[in-house]
C-alpha cells in the first residue's frame, strides 16, 4: 500500500495524475533534447576544439 502511495506522490501535490510512464518518458525526452540543445549552443566551440587538435 505504501508503494501505491509512492506512485501517487505527485498526484497528492497536483490534482492531475501525471502518470508514471508519462513522467519517465518526459525525463528521457527532456534529457535527450536538452543534450541536443547544449551541443547546438556549443557547436562552434566543439568544432574549434577539434580543429585545433588536428
Amino acid at each position: 500500500m505504501d508503494k501505491l502511495f509512492d506512485i501517487l506522490n505527485y498526484s497528492a501535490i497536483s490534482y492531475l495524475d501525471p502518470g508514471t510512464g508519462s513522467l519517465i518518458i518526459q525525463l528521457a525526452i527532456a534529457t535527450f533534447v536538452a543534450g541536443g540543445a547544449f551541443i547546438k549552443i556549443k557547436w562552434s566551440a566543439i568544432k574549434k576544439y577539434f580543429s585545433k587538435n588536428k
Binding site: N9, Y15, L16, G21, S22, I24, Q26
Partner: protein
C-alpha cells in the same frame, strides 16, 4: 440564484458559477499562494497583454457560495463555448501552441501549468485564449511537467492523427473526454511515423512506457528534471507541433464556391438579400449553419455581428479559420459540426460538455443552400427541420432550393426520388406552423427563394 458550472469540479483550487446571468470564479483558500503569485509575478499582466488569458476583475466575495472562498473573480464572458472535437486542424494546432507559449511564459516567471486540457482554451476574438485562471502553480525545481501526458493526449495525438492518418480523427476526442489514449493513437498511426523523432518519442515510446509502468510500483519522486531540461522539453514540443502540416485534401465542400452553378449576378443578388434581411432582423448574434468557408457569414461578422460559422466539412472549416487568422477577424468563429448528428452533452452525468443546443442560442440563423441537404441527403421531413430551427432561433434567413436546381439534381442523380413533399408550398406550409414569413424574395438568375422568417 447561483448556478454551478457543470464542467468545473475536478480542480479543488476553485470553481465557476453563474449568478444573475454573470459568470464568476471562486478562488479557494487552498489556491491563495498560487493566485497571489500569478498576480504579483507579472505573469497575469504578460498573458493578458499577449491575449493568452481571459482577463478578470476581483469582486466582493460576500456573494460567494462557499466558505472556502479566498477571492471571487469575474472573468470576461465567452459567449460561445466550443470544444476541440469541433475545431479544425489549425484551431487545435493554435490552441496547442498557445498552451506551450503560456507554459514558457509561466516558467520564466517561476510558475508552471498544472494542467494542459484543451477544454481550458476558448477562441476569444479569433484567438486561442486560456480561460482557466487557476491552472497555474508555483514551479518547484526538479519537478517534471505534470501536464505533459495530458498535453500529448489532448493536443499532440489528435494533431498527429489528423496530419498522418485522417483529418476526421479529431472526432475521437468526442469519445475520450481526457484526450486520445496514446496506445490507440500509436496503433492507428502509419509505421513511417516511427522514423519521426517527435512522434516516436511523444506518442509511440510514450505509449509503450505507459504500458510498461501501468502496474509497476515506482517511486516517482526520485525522477527529477532540471529547469533547463524542462525548458528543452517545452521547446521540443513547440517545434514538434509547429512542424505538423495538413496534406492538401479535396473534400466535398472545400471547392464549393468554384464548383457551384451560381452566376455572378445570382451570387451578388443573394449577398444583397442576405445583407438586407440581416438588417431587417436586427441581428446581433448569428449562427450560420452550413457556412462552408464563411463567404456569407462575413456579411454579418464584417459588421461586427458575432457570428458562429458551422460546417460539416473539415477542409471548409480549415479554410475559413485560416482566412479569419490571416485577416485578424474577431467576430467570426468557424466550427466543425454535423447538423444531422450535432455535439451531444458529454462527460460526467452527461453534463460536463454542453450539447449543440445547450450553448448560448443565437437570435438569427442563416441557413443558405442547406435545406436540400437536410431534406434529400438525410431524408428529413420539412416538419422536423422547421421544428429544429424554431427551437434555436427567433429569426431565420433560409434559402429554398427547388427540384430542378442543378445542386438538387446532383443529389437525386444516384437515388430514387421519394420526395413528393419537397416543393415550395410544402416548405412554406411546414415552416408557417412556427414562423411568419416576413420577406420572400426570388434570387435573380436562379430558381431559388430567400426567406426571412420570424418565430410566432
Amino acid at each position: 440564484m447561483i448556478d454551478l458550472d457543470k464542467g468545473s469540479f475536478r480542480d479543488p483550487s476553485g470553481f465557476v458559477f453563474y449568478k444573475d446571468g454573470q459568470i464568476y470564479r471562486q478562488v479557494n483558500e487552498s489556491y491563495k499562494d498560487n493566485y497571489e503569485l500569478l498576480m504579483s509575478s507579472g505573469l497575469y499582466d504578460e498573458l493578458i497583454k499577449e491575449g493568452l488569458l481571459i482577463p478578470h476583475t476581483e469582486v466582493d466575495s460576500k456573494s460567494s457560495c462557499s466558505n472556502e472562498c479566498y477571492k471571487l473573480i469575474k472573468p470576461e464572458m465567452v459567449n460561445f463555448i466550443s470544444y476541440p472535437y469541433e475545431w479544425c486542424f489549425s484551431q487545435i494546432k493554435d490552441a496547442a501552441l498557445a498552451t506551450v507559449r503560456i507554459q514558457k511564459l509561466a516558467l520564466a516567471r517561476g510558475m508552471s501549468l498544472k494542467d494542459s486540457s484543451a477544454y481550458n482554451i476558448q477562441f476569444v476574438n479569433g484567438k486561442p485564449t486560456m480561460i482557466d485562471t487557476l491552472s497555474f502553480e508555483k514551479y518547484e525545481e526538479g519537478k517534471p511537467w505534470v501536464a505533459y501526458g495530458q498535453f500529448c493526449r489532448h493536443f499532440y495525438a489528435p494533431l498527429v492523427l489528423m496530419a498522418y492518418k485522417d483529418i476526421r480523427l479529431n472526432q475521437l476526442l468526442r469519445c475520450y473526454i481526457d484526450g486520445i489514449p496514446l496506445d490507440l493513437a500509436s496503433s492507428m498511426l502509419p509505421g513511417s511515423t516511427k522514423f519521426n523523432f517527435s512522434i516516436m518519442a511523444n506518442i509511440h515510446l510514450h505509449a509503450k512506457t505507459q504500458a510498461n509502468y501501468s502496474d509497476k510500483a515506482v517511486d516517482v519522486k526520485k525522477y527529477t528534471m532540471s529547469k533547463m531540461q524542462l525548458s528543452a522539453l517545452i521547446d521540443s514540443l513547440e517545434s514538434a507541433v509547429n512542424k505538423l502540416k495538413l496534406d492538401k485534401v479535396n473534400t466535398e465542400w472545400g471547392d464549393y464556391y468554384n464548383a457551384t452553378n451560381y452566376s455572378d449576378d445570382a451570387f451578388n443578388h443573394k449577398k444583397q438579400l442576405v445583407e438586407s434581411f440581416l438588417q431587417t432582423a436586427g441581428s446581433r448574434y448569428i449562427w450560420d449553419l452550413g457556412a462552408n468557408t464563411g463567404v456569407f457569414s462575413r456579411l454579418a461578422s464584417d459588421k461586427g455581428i458575432e457570428t458562429i460559422a458551422f460546417d460539416i466539412d473539415p477542409i471548409a472549416v480549415e479554410k475559413n479559420y485560416l482566412h479569419c487568422k490571416q485577416n485578424q477577424e474577431k467576430s467570426i468563429l468557424p466550427i466543425l459540426m454535423d447538423l444531422t448528428n450535432p455535439s451531444p452533452s458529454l462527460g460526467w452525468s452527461n453534463e460536463e460538455r454542453m450539447s449543440f443546443k445547450g450553448r448560448k442560442l443565437p437570435d438569427t440563423v442563416l441557413a443558405l443552400a442547406l435545406i436540400h441537404h437536410l431534406a434529400i441527403s438525410n431524408n428529413l421531413p420539412f416538419s422536423k427541420i422547421a421544428k429544429f430551427f424554431s427551437e434555436i432561433c427567433s429569426s431565420l434567413i433560409i434559402e429554398f432550393v427547388p427540384k430542378g436546381d442543378s445542386q438538387v439534381n446532383k443529389l437525386l442523380a444516384t437515388r430514387e426520388d421519394i420526395f413528393d413533399q419537397y416543393h415550395q408550398e410544402g416548405f412554406e406550409k411546414e415552416f408557417s406552423k412556427y414562423y411568419t414569413i416576413q420577406q420572400r424574395e426570388k434570387i435573380q438568375g436562379s430558381d431559388r427563394t430567400l426567406y426571412l422568417l420570424k418565430r410566432k
